[in-house]
Symmetry: C2
Subunit: 703 residues, 2 copies
């Protein structure tokens, strides 16, 4: 081994954020540690996978050295013999031996290692120790480590298949990067992207992710010009803010589409899989969405979304306009129905556009948007051009069966001129592939069905909206919460009863009703006189959070006799102090709050009040800090959002005002790390304004 070769470490010359993973994903040479002649052994499978790599691939097996087959006793020997740095080692050795093998490989010049096998932390028992040793060895030797417990990665444009599924070498080079928690999902997605005619730039399965995390790979992709869209699969997250920040940085360059596992209770199985608890599905999705990712519900939607986003990115817009053009009304109707369900904006076309269309199409077709062309023919390019030119339209979504006799779709698009457009088609496989391959150079993605088209269009719209939100952040005023010295003073106390909590809310600008904290019955009677009835009388004790559970709340108190009865009952329940408060008028009750997620840190939450909303778990969440306008949008995620806009004569909720309250509460948790949560339940939207009727401020329990 020459000293020169070892000193040319890839990436060290470039201090960019992606430099660290270059020895892993762009190695100059590869060595399989644990090479084997037994074709069923992992070492042999890996060597077969790596056989297409254009650079040198060596094997290491001290018990079976054969230099003519590039199999050596040690990595250093291999590097010496081949005269090229072997940046990447693929370790195919038992878990117990992996730390030693990694250290030895590093001594031979290796800068990155892939460990596919399982038997580490996910297996429990001695595997926990093997994993710790492996991580220690990687840290000490400054080797980048992918895995363990993964099926590896592929980089087709480099001819690099570092996977124990050799068939994945058939996946073509393309423009989508896959970053998957699971090796199996990584392969499944890569095959699906091949089938979709898109291919991959890089496809990585993270496995136990003890060193290289999703955030690291996303950061690597910042500098990868081949990647035009990213498919991210998430099972668990160790460092929420790091992941969110990597997604946010990458989304500024390329779209990221994320699939988060664990909507339902599959925690036991998930833990057995990678040794980590599935992260809160809801919070993870919210955090990724806030960071700019498009969030989808299953792996097919993931593939449809990246297929579209790898070719098209709409300009940032809060409500992009979609035109639907259909050569067959039936599939078009399925697509339009789907779009209506996702809330995508399909605006009625302008009068000018409709005039143009009526000159091109038979009178019997629907032309307002969706545009039904009837049986498509030679006017199809004109229809596409007219629709794309409509000022309300940002993207054209087309369904057309493959009918080479009557419609040449690629030619029609070429004739119509450049536009943002997507196509879904159906037909014999060869015809569909021909259409798809001809549309690709025009920047037009081809989907496989109306539902796939709906998913793809929705992804384009969500990506454009995410960037509009990101742009909005640059122009936002700051919220008052943490800069006010009165807030700091209020937070100096270590426990908050309801009165103190509401005092804090008052400083934060959140409405409360006139109230008096009373240490005696006399004070309570004086408060009733001062406030005037009806009042609410409550037990006042920072230690009692769920007052209504112990009959600690009495409503509608109007006169001294009623007050005495209420005070008697509260005394009987153990109350020493009382809160006497004006009673609120009717309205819509919300639950709003901020709490601390174990993975992502402070998050805000908002939901509708009432037992049905609770039974539905109808809550929207987002990481804090966030701007009031972003927080306000959370209300639109609620299933019961129809209630917020004057439903059945009810009030209209001032979304901006609720958003400001959420933002302020989020800021509060960001500002004071001791705070565990602040919850206002209910926050009542009344004709007289928005009022916090009860509030609980909790501190982290110190064990």
């Amino acid at each position: 081994m020459t000293t020169d070769a070892r000193d040319v470490r890839p990436g060290t010359a470039d201090a960019g954020p992606s430099a660290r993973l270059r020895p892993l994903f762009a190695p100059r040479g590869v060595v399989v540690v644990g090479a084997s002649r037994d074709s069923s052994k992992l070492g042999a499978v890996m060597a077969r996978s790596l056989s297409a790599f254009p650079g040198p691939v060596a094997g290491v097996n001290p018990r079976d050295v054969a230099p003519d087959e590039r199999r050596y006793a040690a990595v250093a020997d291999a590097a010496d013999a081949l005269g090229v740095p072997l940046d990447l080692a693929v370790l195919c050795v038992p878990a117990a031996a992996s730390a030693g093998a990694l250290t030895a490989a590093a001594a031979g010049g290796v800068r990155a290692a892939l460990v596919c096998a399982g038997g580490y932390a996910e297996a429990g028992g001695p595997g926990i120790g093997y994993q710790r040793d492996l991580v220690d060895a990687a840290r000490r030797s400054e080797v980048v480590l992918l895995g363990p417990n993964t099926s590896g990665f592929i980089a087709p444009a480099r001819g690099l298949t570092a996977s124990f599924v050799p068939g994945v070498g058939a996946v073509p080079a393309g423009s989508v990067a896959v970053v998957a928690a699971s090796g199996g999902v990584n392969h499944a997605l890569a095959f699906m992207l091949a089938e979709a005619g898109i291919g991959v730039s890089l496809a990585v399965g993270l496995g136990n992710a003890v060193d290289v995390t999703a955030a690291d790979v996303l950061t690597y992709l910042l500098d990868d010009p081949a990647t035009r869209a990213v498919a991210l699969h998430v099972e668990s997250v160790a460092d929420g803010p790091a992941l969110a920040s990597a997604v946010e940085a990458l989304c500024a360059r390329v779209p990221v589409v994320a699939l988060v596992v664990g909507r339902n209770d599959v925690a036991d199985f998930a833990r057995s899989h990678t040794g980590a608890l599935a992260t809160s599905w809801r919070v993870t999705r919210a955090a990724l969405r806030q960071a700019g990712a498009v969030v989808v519900d299953d792996e097919r939607a993931l593939v449809d979304a990246v297929t579209a986003l790898s070719l098209i990115r709409l300009p940032a817009a809060s409500r992009p306009g979609v035109a639907v053009v259909t050569a067959q009304a039936g599939p078009g109707l399925l697509h339009a129905d789907g779009l209506a369900g996702t809330g995508v904006h399909v605006p009625t076309l302008a009068g000018d556009t409709r005039d143009r269309l009526s000159a091109l199409l038979p009178a019997l077709t629907y032309q307002a948007n969706p545009v039904d062309t009837g049986r498509p023919g030679e006017t199809f390019p004109g229809v596409l051009a007219a629709v794309a030119a409509d000022p309300a339209i940002d993207v054209v979504s087309v369904y057309a069966l493959a009918e080479p006799d009557s419609l040449d779709l690629p030619a029609a698009f070429a004739a119509a001129g450049s536009m943002a457009a997507l196509v879904a088609t159906g037909g014999p496989a060869t015809e569909v592939a021909a259409i798809r391959d001809a549309l690709l150079p025009l920047g037009i993605p081809t989907l496989s069905s109306p539902a796939a088209l709906t998913t793809a269009v929705t992804a384009l719209v969500h990506d454009a909206q995410a960037r509009a939100r990101a742009a909005g952040r640059l122009r936002q005023p700051s919220t008052p919460a943490e800069s006010d010295p009165r807030v700091r003073d209020a937070l100096a106390r270590t426990e908050f009863d309801e009165d103190a909590a509401k005092a804090l809310l008052g400083i934060l600008g959140i409405g409360t009703l006139a109230r008096a904290a009373c240490d005696s019955r006399d004070e309570a009677h004086a408060a009733l006189i001062a406030l005037g009835g009806p009042v609410v009388v409550k037990l006042l004790d920072a230690a009692v959070v769920h007052k209504s559970d112990i009959s600690g709340v009495h409503l509608g108190i109007r006169d001294p006799a009623e007050l005495d009865r209420a005070l008697d009952a509260l005394h009987a329940a153990g109350a020493q102090r009382f809160l006497v408060e004006k009673q609120a008028g009717p309205g819509i009750d919300l639950i709003v709050g901020a709490t601390r997620d174990p993975v992502f840190g402070p998050v805000v939450l908002v939901g509708l009040g009432g037992v049905l909303a609770e039974a539905l778990a109808d809550v929207a969440t987002a990481p804090a800090p966030l701007f009031a306008s972003e927080a306000a949008e959370l209300l639109d995620e609620l299933v019961g959002r129809a209630l917020l806009d004057g439903f059945r004569g009810g009030p209209f909720v001032d979304r901006g005002a609720v958003g400001r309250i959420l933002a302020v509460l989020g800021d509060l948790l960001v500002a004071d790390g001791r705070l565990e949560s602040v919850e206002i339940n209910p926050l009542r939207i009344t004709a007289d304004g928005i009022l916090a009727l009860d509030a609980v401020v909790s501190f982290e329990e110190v064990p």
Copy 2:
């Protein structure tokens, strides 16, 4: 033309329910009326499509007769010349000429006609008349008519492509029949089924369905041994009971999977498409489900579901057990997460089974169900056999990437022995196709992804559950409603105030509280004394349905002074009569009722009470008559169903009792055609029983 040939009308010998459509789908000869040499004309396209038909195909064009090319002046000439009955005519003539062409074709011996072109009712204007004339001509000449405004049908096993999309001739013969409202959707589905490796037995687009309806085609399929599952696409329904009854009859033989368009507001576009209003999405789905169909949400789910159901039908069961076996934990986790979301039962495996598995699998894998095999190998058949043998397991769902080196899936299943199983896989297209084609003869369907597998498994379970429900119907007691002479007497009146409505409910066995209908203040005071407070006092007037809108309801009346205040207010609101009723205790409020759907007739509805439930439109519905046990299951379709089972200390709802009430209300509408609706709102579930607190009985408005 020989008299003999014309007299041998197909189907007339067989009086079975499917005989009528045999000339259409199984013709002995076909004639294209409006044949053309111009390859862009419909007549020429149709002739090209039909060129693979093994029987005689003639053309008719009086202006271009060429007997050597089988083109004649009239159908009779063609039949004479060819000596074979031309059962099916494909009419490629303008809409205005189609009625005449059909009559002429019938005179030439044609028994069935396909009209693909548009320009009929869906186009409005003169098209309405063309359609009427065409229908009249078909009726007079007893010709079965498919269309107009459809792309036709294909019957690959007969070499019959009667479609203006010749490429659809590439769809292979298979075991799924497609019955689609739209010609375009029919083609899209046929191509998707080809892509799925399944193929079609028959694929029909109904278009305007002026004669041949979905119900007719479903009935035809009763006698088609090649069809093992049916994909049904519904846009609008003219005769709801006919469709439901055809589905019910067919489901006894083969599974039917239905996709109903129109979840969202796309009515304008839908009407333009076939000239018919989209039928109520909710009621149509409910009716198809009650008839035994599996209902899905999009066309991909439709294809996944029929792919599975064409090969497997589980025994009827209310809760089939599914085992998940995965060769890669990550995709398995996506699948398990999906199944958990659909409510499919994935039972923990028995101790015996787990013992057997632990002997076959490495200790590190999860084996309770899902069963994670780690990296699969030679024990895979043993794992499959052990899981399939578990008494709680009805079907085995497997995810495994294509890894020919480590796992031969078809061989593993062959070794494991016969079982109900499904597979999803991923890999290079050729490997996936090879696996799929090898599993097909074993009766094992192959899906393309974890989400597709989830859809397929869920469809198998829903089909088994539908048959369990159908079997339950045979053992059900009848409900009391219509047989009771007191009910007939009660229904003799023409209008119902609340008291009369509740009297009717009482006869039907539905609980109400003690009450008195009062014609004067004195009577009201007497009622208060007799009933004891607290009572509710309401305006009593059959003409006022929404009493609370006009302050016609006063709660919590305990003494004469309060009663007088309430009576004053009711007088002021115009009340002449009063209902004084005991006040109910707290509980959970439901809305239950029966109403008359314009397409499907009587239906029952149930929803949770309260404004949020109303805002969510959280209502379940089913056609009446239905059995109490079926009606009870509607409660489990409610989004807010968690509230029904003691949520937050609330009551447990007696589903059987609510089901009986729904069934009785449904029977009432079935029994008396004048009744428009009966609504109980709220029906309160209290600790003291189930009580109708308000009820409205409405009659059809006679114009």
